[in-house]
Amino acid sequence: MKVQRIYLCENSIEGIFTAIYQAWSSRYGHANIKIQEKNDMGLYSNFELFSEYFMVETDLTLVTKVSRSIKEKISDEAYQMVYRVGISNYKGKADLIYRFLIFGFSVGPKILGHLSNEIVGQIYKINRYVSNEVHHMHGFIRFSEQENRILVSVIHPKNNILALIAPHFADRLPEERFIIIDGNRKIAVLHLPGKSWVLIGLPNYSEASYYQYSSKEEEYQDLWKAFFENIAIKERTNFNLQRNNLPLRFRKDMTEFQS
């Protein structure tokens, strides 16, 4: 029996794709290979016994090759689904994507119809989870206006979804300068009027440094809170329903729940 090989890669689409390329081209046998992403804190998970570890250096030329093959041999839709899994917080996503692609390259675009397959089913499930969070964020993001008329929003999503949220707001607020910060990952989306949005890193980000409200800002926050209070019908109060629809984890970033 061969010794199991584990490819350890960066926790990003690029890292995962590089590992997949290397694992595949090693011709060691899919059953003897596992791909593992490093977790978000930069620490390694527990090492497994009786396995050989390979550290994967992200290589962008390999990434392009893998993504091109997915689009050509499977489909664009499959690529998008893989992408969403890649940015999710699902543990073991690298190996899941690997298994999905092995299956995908053998059956082609039809793979998306194999809903009863466990791996495909899992891919669908994670996709729904990520897309739901994106949809939630479209609604739950709150901007506050700073002194220089810049709109700032801080969110703490579970998945790394900034790049999926940004197009919606760039389309909606074309003439605004805005910034959406992912407080967990210390990255941000920047948008300037007439330009396309960009994703940047904010290694020195801290909560306090982004709040210098403009003179009108607090007035509108109060107006919004007043509206929020008054629109509820007392006789129908149902906090359970409210919590089902709007989980508590979103609320700390939402104006109407801040005192």
């Binding site: 709109l151 019908i233 409210q242």
Partner: protein
């Protein structure tokens, strides 16, 4: 009546959002519109909820009345002219400012503008139109706008408003003409249906012009239709185009129109209410009919008391049935009848229907067609779509169904996989009902948890009284 001069905008917002909260529709769905690269706003067909209030209802739009001054005296309404409450009115500028600033901060998806009748329907309508024009033309607002059409206003005004709004609605208020006459003496059912018809015809006319297929039309016309509806439909006078298409890159009421009815203020049965809703969908091509559980906000003793809370469960059942009619191919007369005019309190309408039609079950998941699968309790439109896709590649088993999101707890009594049921069971109404209700968590909120099925049959006969009050 109390008038106050120099009210702050905060105070006005408090009064006029409080007055608008009984309006049900807060949806922002039905129209896909990309941003135009300038101004502000776009719109998504799926709609976006921006927050949820303490009653658990979605807040999507800035839902306000333009004014709560009203010359009408509808008995059920908090803003009726005989009530002694604080009155306030916005100016068009104030509404625009609130909408734009809220929208920028992503508090809202757009504006829902309704109003009391100030001076006259025409005067009110002109103010609403002025607000919308200002918002679209001066502030270049490209987000969602839902606006009420005021019955009795000049058709020209209604048509103009339609070019600026995404959705329009006229409230039917009450299901039948009799109860409307009784509770809203100033309103006439025919006057309410006329603008609905006008907007419908104008939309269809524009769709023909644009060559768009009309996906919404349900098959067949409803056979249950009252005399008012007949009269309004046959009178084709309302199909006059008062304006040639204005030169703007907009469509006429692209998200369609909706309406709402108050449930439980008058004595109509669920059967009557659903028949009216179905007739509205089929004959007036509405997008949505909303139901609003009645609350006796005026403590008026001529109306039923709602001290034990509004009839929320009844409202819930009506919405479930509404869904079955719009997306599942059901008809009102399949779900209810003259002899059984109320929905089952304990079971949802689909389960209830399936239990009365056990001769049609079980169905084989791997073979049954789309519409047959849709009628199985626990299988919804999404699950059916997935099943149809998955069974092309493999024959499905119960574990696969579970993974795809089918609610086996309910579906298991009505389906077979590869010719077998999940486990052997007796297929009769009593057994299945008892099984379905044995999980207390499945019982609707507000129903006595200690209930057993035997008590239930008694209770079912009781149903009539339970629902009416």
């Amino acid at each position: 009546m109390i008038f106050q001069e120099d009210m702050t905008i905060q105070r006005k917002l408090e009064i006029l959002s409080d007055a608008a909260k009984y309006d049900v529709a807060c949806t922002s769905s039905g129209v896909d519109r990309k941003g135009n690269g300038s101004g502000m706003g776009n719109s998504l067909a799926c709609g976006i909820c921006h927050t949820f209030s303490a009653d658990g209802r979605c807040i999507s739009l800035l839902k306000i009345l333009f004014t709560n001054e009203c010359i009408f005296d509808c008995k059920y309404c908090i803003n009726r002219s005989s009530n002694d409450i604080v009155r306030a009115s916005f100016t068009p500028q104030e509404v625009c400012e609130l909408t734009m600033e809220f929208y920028r901060r992503n508090y809202i998806e757009g504006l829902f503008l309704s109003s009391g009748i100030l001076v006259s329907p025409n005067h009110t309508m002109e103010l609403l139109l002025q607000t919308l024009v200002l918002l679209r033309e001066k502030h270049h607002f490209n987000g969602y706008i839902h606006c009420k059409a005021i019955p009795g206003a000049d058709p020209v005004l209604i048509e103009m408003l339609g070019w600026y709004a995404d959705r329009m609605s006229v409230n039917l208020e009450l299901p039948t003409a009799d109860s409307l006459r009784e509770l809203a003496p100033h309103k006439k059912r025919k006057n309410i249906l006329k603008p609905i018809r006008q907007i419908q015809l104008r939309r269809e006319n524009e769709k023909e012009y644009l060559g768009l297929p009309n996906k919404q039309i349900l098959l067949g016309k409803s056979d249950i239709i009252d005399s008012d509806m007949k009269e309004v439909i046959s009178a084709n006078t309302s199909l006059q185009l008062y304006q040639s298409t204005p030169k703007m890159k907009r469509r006429f009421v692209p998200a369609g129109q909706s309406t709402q009815m108050i449930i439980g203020a008058t004595k109509e049965s669920d059967y009557q209410i659903m028949s009216v809703a179905e007739a509205l969908y089929k004959n007036f091509n509405l997008k949505r009919v909303f139901f609003s559980a009645f609350m006796n906000v005026n403590q008026d003793n001529r109306l039923p008391s709602t001290e034990e809370g509004p009839p929320l469960l009844r409202e819930h059942r009506l919405y479930q049935a509404d869904w079955l009619i719009r997306f599942y191919g059901f008809q009102t007369k399949e779900l209810l009848s003259e002899e059984k005019p109320y929905f089952n309190v304990l079971l949802d309408p689909k389960c209830d229907w399936a239990l009365r039609h056990l001769e049609m079950f079980p169905v084989e998941v791997n073979k049954a067609d789309y519409y047959t699968l849709l009628k199985v309790p626990g299988i919804g439109t999404n699950s059916v779509r997935k099943i149809m896709m998955a069974r092309k590649n493999a024959s499905l088993d119960f574990a696969d169904l579970k993974r795809m999101g089918v609610v086996l707890k309910r579906a298991v009594y009505f389906i077979t996989c590869k010719g077998r049921m999940m486990y052997p069971m007796r297929l009769d109404e009593d057994t299945i009902t008892r099984q379905l209700l044995s999980d207390k968590k499945q019982l609707p909120h507000g129903v006595d948890q200690s209930i057993t099925y035997k008590q239930l049959t008694l209770f079912d006969d009781f149903n009539l009284n339970f629902n009416v009050n």
